[in-house]
Amino acid sequence: MLTKRIIPCLDIKNGRTVKGVNFVNLRDAGDPVELAKQYAVKGADELVFLDISATLEGRKTMIEMVLKVAEQVNIPFTVGGGISSVEDVDVLLKSGADKISVNSSAVKRPELVNELSSKFGSQCVVVAIDAKQVNGQWKVHLAGGSIPTELDLFDWAKEVETRGAGEILFTSMNNDGTKNGFANEALAKLSETVNIPIIASGGAGTIQHFTDTFKEGKADAALAASVFHFGEIEIKNLKEELKQKGISVRL
C-alpha cells in the first residue's frame, strides 16, 4: 500500500540552514547536508530544500549544496525557491535533485509549468501554492505570502494540474507558524478538485495534527519545519503513532 509521506523542510540561505536547528549529535547544525543525512536515518520519506538566498552567489552555493545532498543522501529531495526557467531546472536536475518546485514564477507565467513537464516529465514538477483565506475565499499569494492575487486556490490548482504539474505543495498562510494544525478543509477540497498528490504544509504543532491532515485533510504527504528541527516531534514516534491510528506509513 502506498504510504503517507513525512517531509521535513529546510530553509537555505547562502548554502546554510536558516531556521534554528536543535539536533543532538550534529556536528554542524547549519550544514544542510549533515541535517539531511540525519533526517534520512531518522525515517523522513523525502526532504524539501527551499532556497531563500536572493543573490546570484547564493544560487551558485545552492547548486553545490544539491550536488552534495545527492551524493550523500539516499532518499528523494525537492528543491524550490527562485526557479523561473527551464535552464534553472535543468541545472538542478543534473546536479541530482529529484523534483523541483515553482511558485510565484508559475503564477506570473503559467506556461512555465507546461514547459517543465514536457521537457522533464510531470513526475519532477511540484507547484507550490501559498494561499490565504480572506472572507471565506482562498486566494493565492506570491513572494512567500506577502503579495495577494485574485487567483482562487482551487482554480489555480486545477489549472496547474492541466498544465502538467505532478504534485501540489499547498501552504495555508492562515495556519503557517501557528502550530494549530493544517488547513484540512481546504486540503480535502483540493484532493477532490485535482487527481495529483497533495502535500499539506503550514500549521504542524502536534502528532494529532498529522493524523488529522491525513484523515480529514486527505493529504498524501505532510511537510513541517520547526517541529522537526527543534526535536519537538521525533519522526519515528510520529510514524509509530500514525500507524496505530491506522494510517499507512513507512517504518
Binding site: Q72, N74, K94, G96, G121, S122, N195
Partner: protein, 193 residues
C-alpha cells in the same frame, strides 16, 4: 568491475552514479556502444516521457544495441518500461525484452503514484536479502502488467509487476538509488550478479 550508466539524455542519472559511489564503485556515464558492450554491468535509466526517450535511443542506435547485450542489464523506472513490448504513454513501441505491456493507472487513484510502497512476491537474486513487504520509492503514472517475467509485485490501483527479469535483463519500476538502505542492497546485489 566496470559499471556503465547509459547516458541518452533521459533525466536524473547523477543520483544513480552517486548511489554506486556510496557503495564504493565508480559508474561511468556513456552513450558509446563500445564502452557499453565492454562493461561488466549496464544500467539503463530513464525518467520523463516514453516516446521522446525512445526517440533518443533510436537516434543513437541504442535500441538495437541494448537487446543484444550479454552482461547483466538493469532498467530503472522508464528504462524498465522501455524494455517492455509497448507503453500507452505516447503509444510507444518498446524494446520487447520483457513480454508485457505498460498501461496507465486509472483515474480512481491519484496519478502519478508518488512515494513509498511495498514490494512483494520477490523471486530473483537481484532481490536477495530483501524482505517481503520492503518499502521502495516510486514515482510513475504507467505500470507493467502482472506477467510471467515479474520478480516482484506492488499494488496501486491494481497488482502490477514492479520488477522484471528475463535472462540477463532486469528491470525495476522503483528507484533503488533513492530507496534508502534496502535500495542500496538491491544495487549491491546487481553488482554481485
Amino acid at each position: 568491475m566496470k559499471i556503465v550508466i547509459i547516458n541518452y539524455g533521459a533525466g536524473n542519472i547523477k543520483s544513480i552514479q552517486f548511489a554506486f559511489k556510496r557503495l564504493g564503485f565508480e559508474a561511468l556515464l556513456t552513450n558509446n556502444p563500445e564502452e557499453i558492450k565492454a562493461a561488466d554491468k549496464v544500467i539503463f535509466p530513464g525518467v520523463g516521457e516514453a516516446s521522446s526517450a525512445m526517440q533518443k535511443l533510436k537516434e543513437s542506435g541504442l535500441d538495437h544495441l541494448i537487446p543484444q547485450l550479454k552482461q547483466p542489464v538493469l532498467g530503472i523506472c522508464l528504462g524498465m518500461q522501455l524494455m517492455c513490448k509497448s507503453t500507452e504513454e505516447g503509444h510507444t513501441k518498446g524494446l520487447a525484452i520483457f513480454d508485457v505491456d505498460v498501461k496507465r493507472f486509472s483515474n480512481t487513484v491519484k496519478v502519478p503514484q508518488m512515494g513509498w510502497n511495498t514490494i512483494n512476491n520477490l523471486q530473483s537474486d537481484l532481490l536477495k536479502d530483501i524482505k517481503e513487504n520492503e518499502f521502495m520509492y516510486l514515482v510513475h503514472s504507467f505500470y507493467a502488467e502482472q506477467c510471467k517475467d515479474a520478480i516482484a509485485t506492488t499494488t496501486y490501483d491494481v497488482e502490477y509487476a514492479s520488477a522484471l527479469q528475463k535472462d540477463n535483463f532486469y528491470g525495476v519500476q522503483f528507484h533503488p538509488e533513492k530507496s534508502s538502505l534496502a535500495g542500496e542492497q538491491i544495487l549491491r546485489n546487481f553488482i554481485n550478479l
